[in-house]
Symmetry: C5
Subunit: 404 residues, 5 copies
């Protein structure tokens, strides 16, 4: 069987081995009256039917600041050049030729929403394949820098949708009509981007204002792992460190210096984080708002601590106002209640009741009101209000941004 | 029915289907004696009338440091080439041709106030549409880097006005005359910039020194939200943190370390902020002045605190000068007055008068003058003078810059 | 003998000194009917056999962020142009000519997995050597920017494998067939990269989907010394510094400020290190995980210390819970045991037993339980658990990443 | 009168409206035997007389690091092409033609002291104006990157002098002779630089070694305001903050931490300032020397404070050496003298003498010598010596650099 | 005599003023049969003799990271084109013509060890001078980016040796032979680099593997002043500051915070220094090793101080181990000896002996051993061992690196 096939091949080839002479003759015949200036349709009222497909090789860069998407890939442009048709049998069965791209008419397709001056696709060294029915294939490989408006509200859990639009710049739909395209974007030697996943692609042909346009759309989702580790984690940590100031007792003499150093650490972390966060005034990322909130928390903690110190070091002679006495009393009740609850739980678990009595005495006993106690009470209330509000804010903010 | 339509089509097309041959003949006829070197007016004394419109696609970059505006868009240039006129009926009703841009004469319009070497507009692959009356349309898409002197005094509430000027470089108004333009700048596939809003555009044609120039003006307003959150807020916070040093009692032993750490935090925040602030010696932004003021406040707070500590730790044996005694007395009076006022307000609100007596005793009682009291008095006066002056400065500076 | 040789030379030269005229005639004869548009095989069904070798001059850049490899070197392309053959004797024995590259047909080989628009190899000033049998040598020197997906998990002990793929873009394997290549990559004037060692190279010819492709593979190993000194060492140091907080006695009054300053130093070191670490969400470097772990350690140390201070400064009146008493007792036992072990070792070494008694008394004597002792016990347990766990983590992480 | 003029115009125009045909004929006549390769003088021994003027549009960049000056502007080159002369009356009074720049011979003027490969001036789309006597005007607009050696000793009060030199590269003064130039540099659409003022310009034509060269010189003065606010002010502030350490009493327990934090703040400010300071080993800016001096001050302050603390905490049992006793005695005398002087001044002003006695007693009374007093004496001397020397250094350094 | 000369000149000129016609005729004669494709030797076996000289204008950049040297300058290429010879008398004594570079054959010399794609030297606007004997001069001015492997061990006292190699890429030594060159590198309009001094240059012609290559070598020495002030000084300062921790007495309560803040300052200085230090894994600069050593010192100081604090705050009840008692005793002896030595010196100088007795008593008296004394002893030993070892390391490291 294989021998048979070979034989046939041999026969065909031995009979009609088209030579370079044939090709040369064909080319000189074809290009004798050909001008690349004239749109190659016999009936000039008919538009050229252009097929445009996009094969993506890589997403090089997604810039939130410049709202820019940089992709590498190639277009496949196919059309019929009615003036480059021939009868293969006339040229020893030559049915395909390769011609440098500057020798023939080409559609002037350009990237419509680009960042740069329009450039011709391809290059002078490209060869275009033309078959005997005049159908031409052109595969210009290029880097495409397209504009893409981005919404970074949910950074780093965001999804972006970018269009890459091509249009035949100098011609109207009457002259060149983009007719077909592949469904979505094809991939060719694709290598994934380190930060973005492609979750969907689509393509769309539009005709409006006599313009014929093809639009390729890429939907990208950010891989958030890196940003969770390097932005969210440190910020959340620092936010919670802030509360520790209310754990440190006033007597340790380190409250203020601790608090301001955490504030400082916050500032230092900001120098790292601020280079990672995208900047825009259009939509503020939730994470940036969270940063501001933590900064405000830091300031409030410092203010509270400073006044607390003032109270703590007040002369014992100065009387404590009724308001403060009430606050201290409230705190003592709460602690006792909590202690009792814990106690009950513990006693139930451990089936022992011996500590019960003393603890309760403890709760009743303290009825002195000194400035010290006021300061300590502030610690108590500030800690719990910070702790609870911070957890609520943190959870609500991140669930809001990551849920989308 | 469809057959009928096809028939009609056939008939119409069979009668006047202009073919590529017609176009080829037309082109060869037109360009036979045509030289792109000669300005295409029959009467050479007449200037070419040139219409220039600007279609903006995006504002890519506004650089305060380099005083540069980078825009993307295209120009629409229209003129009449009197040598490319023909009678359509002679060429089977062909009334429009597309010609590569290098085949014909073009005006040498360039960006007058640019940052780069002059470059030819368009590219060799552009086709220009020419109708049978010789009117030519050229739509070169480009990136325009124009110079624009900026006033950043009111940063981040500033408004900038930038000109993009085009001129026909080698020709004078006698040869090429820019005649018409669209009103202002048109938008084409415009995507808004993340930092700047376009609030107005205009266009203007000028003739002076035989130069014919068209000027497009863009008025931009900065979106200040990002800068308020990332520059103004942290600075204002730090400015007010500074005052807390006067709240901390000397006995806490953390006054100095607090004060210098806030100063340090200020320095760290500066490393972030300084990369966001535009730099220029021509006009200092008010916000930069505010920074300097806050820095000075920090230094003053440190100096006061250091001397305060010295006073506080002075030997009790050293006598307190009369000056200081007076100051302490003044402070006591003010606090008592304030206390009384509060008291009255409180007593009126709560209808209780019991605390009245003791408080007043308190006010009268303290007549000892130790160095400790002097230090504490300094706290009092420094805090209130810092607090009030800082609020005044902050409000006046930001209202000044944002009002414009 | 030498004279003889010279004579022969003379004779040969005097007989056949080919002149520029001969070469000129040859060239005009050869190129008379030659068209660079036509693939130079007599039988057009035969593919051109193309040999491709790669000579590497340097590895300019390896970018983990952009997943890019930039190399400098040249390709050696060899093929047979069947239309450029001649009989040397016809042209006075001229058997080699040099022709500018744009005069003849060349294969349109391009870098398949590149970062840029396809560019023609070589340049208009290159001369190609053609011998009388039509074999052509082309040595285009270029900078190749190829995509290379990288796995930085084991940074800085990682090894990367990068492909540099070339393909004849416009032609299929039926027209141009890449046949041979050198084994691996050759080196030409190679200068080693400061960061990467080349440990292996290979080459591979593939034919699929009618595409004929040659793939050169470089295996690179990172020189880790720089990163060990500048990243790993400082991080490990800081990780261990963190534990010192449990060595400092509570009475020194510097526990908290030490701990938070170490945290701050960590943040500052991060600003240096973060610029050296490659960023990607695909695979997190183990070293980045280690950083996070150390950050968590810092936070935990702060939390423990804050609560410890609270316990330490608790009123002596408050009773110590049973749980804490047990913990303190446990610690005392462990220390005594350790002391005894040390003691025995010491006594064996020094042959003295005198201290034995007192020490043991010491161990037995302390049976008071104050809050101070609780705080001190926390120090003991926290230090040893941090110390051991940190060593385990450090050793396991680095052995994991460096072993590969 | 106007009508008359119009009439005349009409007459002239109606009689001789030169048409495109005339221009076309003229051009074809002129360029028939014209070769852009041949220098267009009839007598080849005569040099071409070339006028070169420089019109500056903006100073884009002045880089101290790279010693580079980047300017934008255009040159005006004028010469006489003796082969492009015609009698206007022969061509219907056509006396000016515009010719693309590549059609005619041009002098190969290049930027002699540039940073880049030589590039041809202008571009293929430039038209050159030629009048009937052969005089040619060429106005190539370009960005000029010229080398300029800079002396930054007096930064930020420095003045730089930069040359922009042009030379006809391939020709000697025998072939092309630069003859005239405008006086200095002209300005065209000039927009001032944000950092540099142009204080003077000049131009100079030189002939040496058969080279004909034209040199334009720009004298620039830095606008120092920005640098005063952002570099000098913070450094001076920090320098003086350093001294406060000697104001803080040892008992406050914050001396050392204050001192080292100021040192740290200095380091942080340096990270900002170091990006603003020009770097060069040729001439160190005085401001950099000042920074070093302040750094040394900081170190000395730390050393003094550390030893002072040691003295302060010395056992009271250790005897104070005679040397220290003398120093303490000296300080007491000085303070009493100062106190007395102040006192006298005060008493004279206030006409009161009552405080006199006590103060003097005070001065005499203290005759105990403890280690505490030694530490306090060190404070006194260190503060005043630092204060005075720092003022002297600051004033002398800035007056030295700003006076020039 | 001068008149005679002038006469002769006049005679010659009046007789033979060669005109543009002569030149035009000459050029058309010469280029009639000339093809730039053919190597211009009559005997094609003879190689073209090529002289290559290098004129340096500036050293633009020396990049240690990329191991790149960027220089600006021009090459002078001279060769004989045997086909461009004429008899001057035939053309009215025209003996020199200027021809655009693309009109004639040129050697394809390229930068062999470059960083970029090969580019043609010169540009299309260059004119080449050809005299009547066919000798051609070509002076292409260019920016040369050459690779240069660097050894930064002795940074900033290092010396680098860089080669700039040129080779005729497409031709072998049989076709083009580089014969002569200037001795070393010549300077043309040279402006010195701010960081590097050129201490020597040389040139060398090599023929190997049929390749003909010319190599220019530049020896550069770094100007170290800037780096001494900005890197070495701050590091040395910080290294010595570290030791001050052992001067501060434990009672001051600032030991730990001082030590860790110095460590922090070290980290901050590193952020500045790390941007100035060259990075490479091949050879670690001694200065980088010194940094690591200082970092280790900082860590050790922290560890010692932490344990010292623990000892200091130990219960007085705990007995001091014999080992510590011995250490304390040793220190006391050393201090007494030192004190005695100082005393003797002082007494000799001052001729007084009165203090002698007391001091000695002092030495003998202290025989109590408390934990405090242990801590203080650690200070003593740590300080001196740090001080001495640090001086030894600093001196040896810098002398090692600067001596070369």
């Amino acid at each position: 069987m294989r021998i048979l096939l070979l034989n046939i091949c041999f026969v065909i080839q031995s009979v009609t081995p088209q030579t370079n002479k044939n090709v040369l003759t064909l080319i000189s015949d074809l290009f004798d009256n050909y001008s690349p200036k004239v749109r190659p349709t016999v009936i000039q009222d008919d538009p050229i039917q252009l097929d445009v497909s996009f094969y993506l090789s890589s997403v090089n860069e997604v810039s939130e600041v410049n709202e820019k998407l940089v992709t590498t890939g190639f277009l496949m442009l196919s059309w019929t050049d009615e003036l480059l048709r021939w009868t293969p049998s006339d040229y020893n069965n030559t049915d395909t030729i390769f011609v440098p791209q500057n020798e023939i008419w080409k559609p002037d397709l350009v990237l419509k929403n680009g960042f740069k001056k329009f450039e011709e696709l391809g290059g002078s060294f490209y060869y275009l394949q033309i078959n005997h029915e005049g159908s031409v294939d052109w595969l210009p490989f290029n880097v495409f820098e397209s504009r893409c408006s981005m919404d970074i509200t949910n950074f780093p859990f965001d999804t972006q949708k970018c269009d890459i639009k091509f249009v035949t710049w100098s011609h109207f739909a009457d002259q060149i009509e983009i007719t077909k395209s592949t469904k979505g974007i094809q991939f060719y030697e694709f290598e994934a981007n380190g930060v973005w996943d492609i979750i969907d692609t689509s393509s769309d042909i539009k005709k409006e204002d006599r313009e014929s346009e093809v639009k390729f759309t890429i939907k990208l989702r950010r891989k958030s792992q890196y940003f969770i580790l390097n932005i969210i984690l440190p910020i959340v940590f620092l936010g919670f460190l802030n509360m520790l100031v209310f754990v440190i007792p006033v007597d340790a003499g380190e409250k203020m210096s601790f608090c301001v150093t955490v504030f400082l650490a916050f500032a230092v972390f900001l120098t790292i984080i601020s280079t990672l966060l995208p900047t825009s005034s259009d939509n503020t990322p939730i994470i940036a708002m969270y940063l501001i909130v933590q900064l405000v928390y830091g300031v409030i903690a410092l203010v509270i601590t400073a006044f607390q110190l003032r109270l703590h070091h007040r002369d014992e002679e100065e009387e404590i106002s009724k308001y403060w006495v009430m606050v201290v009393r409230l705190q003592r009740k709460m602690r006792c209640k909590k202690a009792r609850v814990t106690e009950i739980v513990v006693s139930e678990l451990t089936k022992k009741g011996s500590l019960d009595n003393e603890q309760q005495n403890n709760c009743r006993a303290q009825e002195k009101y000194e400035w010290k106690h006021v300061a300590s009470t502030i610690d108590f209330f500030a800690f719990w209000s910070f702790f609870i509000s911070n957890i609520v804010i943190t959870v609500s903010m991140f669930s809001a941004s990551s849920s989308q």
